[in-house]
């Protein structure tokens, strides 16, 4: 929709050009910004001309730039030892939105939206992604995705701070994975999106709970846990009031299906 309060679009060619003030908003794909009135915003700071390569694969892992579009991640083919790359598509398919949106929306935009059902949050949290943040003043800092999102629509970003990139470490990309999603409607918004990854020898089992909780939750086990062990760990970490209630599923339901799906995943990876 038209953002009628916007008076100016700044299109910087470097981060240093940006002089941040209240009323500014970073424009990535624009797919969220343009979906709701933004009456507190008067200036869009377009990231497109910063010219960052979308995806950079190195032995350390895969770096996803702030401006990487969903479709670029979708088209990415990693080396065979990165066994978790097929999870990209599974998470992309878990979006409520259509494939047309992939052409515009960015991975980082979804993470910065910080909604519980943000499928790129689920993906990058499960693959132990680390965000590089560029504050307006000061040195870049690193924050794991799982800590980046602090609640419904809230995150650790300071005023004017930019999520520059997300690094998915090669080690996490090399793990086996399983994923389950539940929605109240077919291909609808996730009520629960549960992912687990595990390394060779059933080591380093990492359960990532998302959508059913306000922010992503990691439960890490040295070895693939037994059902009861995992169930207990979920309950200990997430008491009944820790679940996310919204129109896409009641909190008790989300707790219920999280347990159910997590067990399916555990069994699949066992």
């Amino acid at each position: 929709m038209n953002l009628n309060t916007i008076a100016e679009v700044k299109r910087p060619r470097s981060f240093e050009e940006i002089e941040w003030r209240d009323g500014h908003a970073f424009l990535g794909g624009g797919t969220w910004l343009f979906s709701e009135p933004q009456v507190a915003t008067d200036t869009l700071v377009d990231l497109e001309r910063l010219g960052w390569p979308a995806l950079t694969a190195t032995p350390a892992g895969l770096e996803i730039a702030a401006t990487c579009k969903i479709v670029e991640l979708h088209d990415f083919k990693g080396p065979p030892e990165w066994r978790a790359v097929p999870l990209f598509d599974k998470c992309i398919d878990a979006f409520l939105m259509s494939f047309k949106i992939w052409n515009a929306a960015t991975v980082a935009g979804n993470v910065c939206m910080s909604l519980p059902a943000g499928a790129m949050i689920s993906l990058t949290a499960a693959l132990e992604g680390v965000c590089t943040l560029w504050p307006q003043d000061g040195k870049p800092r690193q924050v794991p995705v799982v800590d980046f999102v602090t609640g419904v629509h809230t995150n650790v970003l300071q005023k004017g701070e930019l999520l520059r990139s997300i690094l998915l470490p090669a080690k996490a990309l090399s793990k086996r994975f399983a994923m389950r999603q539940m929605s109240l409607t077919r291909h609808g918004r996730s009520a629960a999106l549960i992912i687990a990854t595990v390394g060779d020898g059933d080591e380093d089992f990492l359960l990532t709970i998302s959508a059913s909780t306000p922010r992503p939750v990691h439960l890490r086990f040295k070895k693939t846990p037994l059902a009861a062990e995992m169930c207990q760990a979920i309950d200990e970490r997430l008491p009944p009031d820790a679940w996310f209630q919204d129109v896409h599923g009641s909190a008790p339901y989300k707790r219920h299906v999280t347990h159910y799906l997590a067990e399916q995943i555990r069994a699949e990876l066992s």
Partner: protein, 904 residues
């Protein structure tokens, strides 16, 4: 200035900084780019940038610079439609047509590859259609041809395409907002943030100095005349309880003030700058609580007649002796059922443009199901004669009852009258629809029903409470409908009922496909199923045994004589068809695993074709000099296919092709009076007017021809483009020329009124699987049989049923309008879902073989009632699968799971 290439044309233009591509393109008069949501959810605005599909409402306009932009208008090459456009044509993969541009631009794009085609539920996530149930869209994508030849004399009963097909599929069709008007002003409203509050102070100081703000109007400025927003022939059936703008807000979203701006942005800024102080008043949202003594009163201003607190209307009655009937019963079922509030979500939002014409009259271009009653209400409100107001539609993008309401016409007309006739536009947003339009009435129905061992019903007692929200538009009529056909559908000597409609601080209820009967059909059809289970009788059998049939009194809880009458009776056929189809099966197996439970359910619905209150329609027909015909009829076409049907009715009477009959509709200047297209009247009232008008046309031509040729009238007959008089065959063009010489005009007009009303039936069968742990429901087999008489256009009738059944599934399984203290929690389509392609099961649709003796050319109503049996059939199938009765809509997994047993 920047350069933009749109459909091969270069434009030098500069978008505003925050402008999206959708409106930028429309500013260039590229009106094929539609707005359904303006938020990326519906896909109606899909365009290509360098060949890739985008939701243009989410694309910053400046990003289109230097790229090749293609819209629906640019898809055809050298006048030849794109193969997908042709496919949509041949399958008639649209009804109102509003979603078609987006559907086509999505499915015709190179990105829509084989993988997408193989997985349509996933690939069409980003395209919503509210009319078709997506079935015809699948047909198009599979290359299916659903249309038949238009053959002279054989128009009735043929599956002819919508006459506006090419315009719709190429983006040339003009919907309400698809027009560029010089000097257009924009209207935006401030909506109440409170569920109940009195305005104590309005400070316009800041708002009036916002650049571009032209005027601000509040309750202090507009005529203080009470009226109802509901549209009916007889305005007395709806309560006059509403002011154009009021000093009391009774629901969150009620319009408080309007701001007129040079631009939408200015009007919006004016709305934000308007300072209003409120005295917060106590609220009540629950209708039962609202009936209690001491509950906050909604309408206490002394002008609105509410003799009984918040109870706006009570309907009650008894036939026979219900107490005695229950004594005679061997089994009695009693339970309370409730249905949810849902929104129409016609893809084209409400919107109107008003201006003063060169003729000195007031013109209102609008999106309405009833331009004539709108004109009457506008004349009353503004205090001007109706003849000075012209209300018309061009293409209307869906209605479903939501546009049987005057909610967008009055403010722009008032404003243009104040502003020297300058054109004023009010285009609603999707959020406006959710918080400021109407919804289906939430109703709670307690049913007590008794039967003998053999299944014979002995007594029926129902209590209905309807929550009409803050205003009573449609409330008494929907309650009357709720108390009528669902209970009249069954023979039972003893029936009793009481229903209350109650004011609360919720968003007002309104007319919605099914109109009150949907709500109590849900209760009644679940109850009949429970009774069958108690008695160990098959659910089909108990219905066959008790359903009303010719010779019975067609009566609910009142003894008064009714004008409902059986022009035909096809319910037995419908029950047989659904039963045998379900038994035969469709080969879709239950998902593997014992966590999936499977069950089958059936429900029926009866429809008295047309409202019990007044409804009338006129038509005019003319033979033109070129030998073709012109037909004028006041009905609104909003995707219901009524203009196609009217052309077919007329063409079949005068023996030509449907395309030889031109049509104009829904225009108070250019067509005769019509009450409106609602209450299942398009075929049986307006269609009847067309029928008798065409007969008069035929008779007029033959009488003139007989005089002209001196052949006795009995030996004259129409033969396509000619009249055969004895041995002579005279072309209509020649006859017309001959008539012109003696001032014979070949023009006729007839009027139709609705009585008696014939009776139609619908039966829905569902086989489904439900996951005992997650509560997920998968519809495995969906069968619908309709007793709608002779289908004037079988393809369209099927399409209407496809859409109605899909809407029924949406109501039963998906749609969930959530309010918190009167505030809608989810006023966006991504949060308040309507069925997507993936959510909509395919339904096998069958027609009973009946030809009605009352309806025109043997036809009955078909667009409305198909929704009614769906939700109870789902509940009945769920009960069969799980042993649990789910009595409260909707059946979303999170509302089911905790009641399901984890193991069989």
């Amino acid at each position: 200035m920047s350069n933009y290439e749109v459909n091969g044309c270069l434009y030098s233009a500069e978008p505003r900084p925050g402008q999206c591509l959708r409106t930028f393109l429309r500013d260039l008069d590229v009106f094929g780019v539609k707005k359904g949501c303006d938020a990326g959810d519906c896909g109606a605005c899909t365009v290509w940038l360098d060949g890739k599909p985008f939701h243009s409402c989410l694309v910053p306009a400046f990003r289109g610079e230097g790229r090749k932009i293609t819209t629906i208008e640019g898809l055809a090459k050298d006048g030849e439609m794109h193969p997908i456009q042709k496919a949509f044509h041949d399958a008639q993969a649209f009804q109102c047509g509003y979603c078609a541009a987006g559907m086509i631009m999505t499915t015709a794009s190179a990105a829509f590859d084989e993988a997408h085609k193989a997985d349509l539920p996933h690939a069409l996530k980003g395209n919503l259609c509210r009319c078709t149930g997506y079935r015809s869209i699948v047909d198009a994508l599979h290359g299916k041809i659903n249309i038949e030849e238009d053959v002279a004399g054989k128009a009735c009963g043929a599956s002819l395409p919508n006459p506006f097909t090419d315009a719709i599929l190429t983006g040339k069709a003009r919907y309400t907002m698809d027009i560029a008007i010089e000097g257009l002003l924009h209207l935006k409203v401030l909506r109440s943030p409170h569920a109940h509050a009195r305005l104590t102070r309005i400070d316009r100081t800041k708002a009036s100095v916002v650049p571009g703000v032209i005027a601000i109007y509040t309750w202090e400025d507009v005529p203080r005349r009470l009226y109802s927003t509901a549209l009916h022939e007889d305005h007395l059936v709806d309560p006059d309880d509403t002011y154009m703008l009021d000093n009391v807000a009774r629901f969150v979203g009620q319009r408080i003030a309007m701001v007129i701006g040079e631009t939408e942005a200015a009007a919006e800024a004016g709305v934000r700058a308007l300072h209003v102080e409120y005295e917060i008043l106590p609220t009540v949202f629950d209708p039962v609580a609202a009936m209690e003594p001491g509950a906050p009163r909604l309408h206490d201003k002394g002008e609105v007649a509410t003799q009984n607190g918040n109870i706006f209307c009570t309907l009650q009655g008894e036939i026979g002796d219900v107490a005695k009937g229950f004594k005679e019963a061997d089994a009695v079922h009693e339970k309370t059922y409730s249905t949810s509030r849902v929104q129409h979500v016609h893809l084209e939002t409400h919107g109107s443009i008003a201006w003063k014409g060169e003729d000195g009259r007031w013109h209102v271009r609008t999106s309405s199901q009833g331009p004539f009653p709108v004109r009457a209400k506008l004349a009353y409100l503004m205090g001007v004669p109706a003849r000075e107001i012209h209300v018309f539609t061009e293409r209307v993008g869906g209605g479903f009852g939501g546009k049987q309401e005057m909610v967008s016409e009055d403010l722009p007309l008032f404003a243009t009258m104040k502003l020297d006739g300058r054109p004023v536009k009010w285009e609603w947003t999707r959020e406006d629809e959710f918080i400021g339009a109407t919804t289906r009435h939430q109703m709670t129905t307690k049913v007590r029903v008794g039967a003998k061992k053999d299944g014979t019903l002995t007594a029926l007692d129902v209590q209905v409470v309807s929550n009409t929200g803050a205003y009573g538009n449609h409330a008494s009529e929907t309650l009357a409908a709720a108390m009528a056909s669902p209970f009249a559908a069954y023979r039972c000597e003893n029936k009793k009922g009481v229903g209350h409609v109650v004011y609360t601080n919720m968003i007002p209820g309104g007319g919605f496909r099914g109109y009150g009967a949907s709500q109590t059909t849900f209760a009644m059809e679940c109850a009949i199923d429970e009774l069958a289970r108690l008695l160990g009788i098959d659910p089909f059998e108990i219905r066959r045994k008790n359903v009303v049939r010719p010779g019975d009194n067609v009566e609910s809880i009142w003894k008064e004589p009714s004008d409902a009458s059986f022009g035909s009776h096809g319910i037995d056929q419908c029950l047989d068809i659904v039963e045998s189809e379900l038994k035969k099966g469709n080969g879709v197996a239950k998902p593997a695993g014992e966590e999936w439970a499977e069950g089958t359910g059936v429900a029926l619905a009866m429809l008295e074709c047309g409202p019990p209150t007044e409804h009338r329609s006129g038509a005019e027909m003319q033979l033109l000099p070129d030998g073709t015909y012109h037909l004028a009829c006041g009905s609104s076409e909003m995707g219901n296919g009524i203009t196609t049907a009217h052309k077919q009715i007329a063409a079949s009477i005068v023996g030509v092709r449907a395309r030889d009959v031109g049509i104009i509709n829904a225009d108070t200047d250019r067509t005769p009076y019509d009450t409106g297209t609602f209450a299942s009247t398009g075929t049986v009232v307006a269609g009847k007017a067309v029928h008798i008008t065409a007969e008069a046309m035929r008779d007029d031509i033959l009488a003139f021809a007989a005089r002209h040729t001196d052949v006795e009238p009995g030996k004259c007959r129409l033969d396509n483009d000619a009249v055969v008089c004895g041995n002579k065959r005279i072309l209509l063009t020649e006859l017309h020329a001959a008539g012109a010489k003696v001032n014979h005009r070949f023009t006729v007009s007839r009027r139709a009124y609705l009585s008696p009303r014939t009776i139609a039936f619908n039966v829905q069968g569902v086989r489904l699987a439900v996951h005992r742990i997650t509560g997920e429901i998968r519809v495995l087999h969906s069968v619908h049989a309709a007793d709608i008489g002779r289908p004037i256009n079988p393809m369209q009738c099927r399409g209407q049923l496809d859409g109605a059944v899909a809407m029924g599934y949406g109501w039963a399984l998906i749609e969930n309008v959530v309010h918190d203290e009167g505030h809608m929690v989810n006023p966006q389509l991504r949060n308040c879902r309507i069925p997507t392609f993936a959510d909509t099961p395919h339904t096998d649709i069958f027609f009973a073989d009946t030809i009605d003796t009352i309806g025109p050319l043997g036809a009955k109503s078909q667009g409305e009632c198909g929704i009614n049996p769906v939700a109870p059939a789902v509940s009945n199938a769920l009960a069969a699968a799980t042993g649990v009765r789910f009595a409260h809509l909707p059946f979303t997994p999170d509302r089911l799971y905790s009641k399901l047993a984890a193991k069989p």
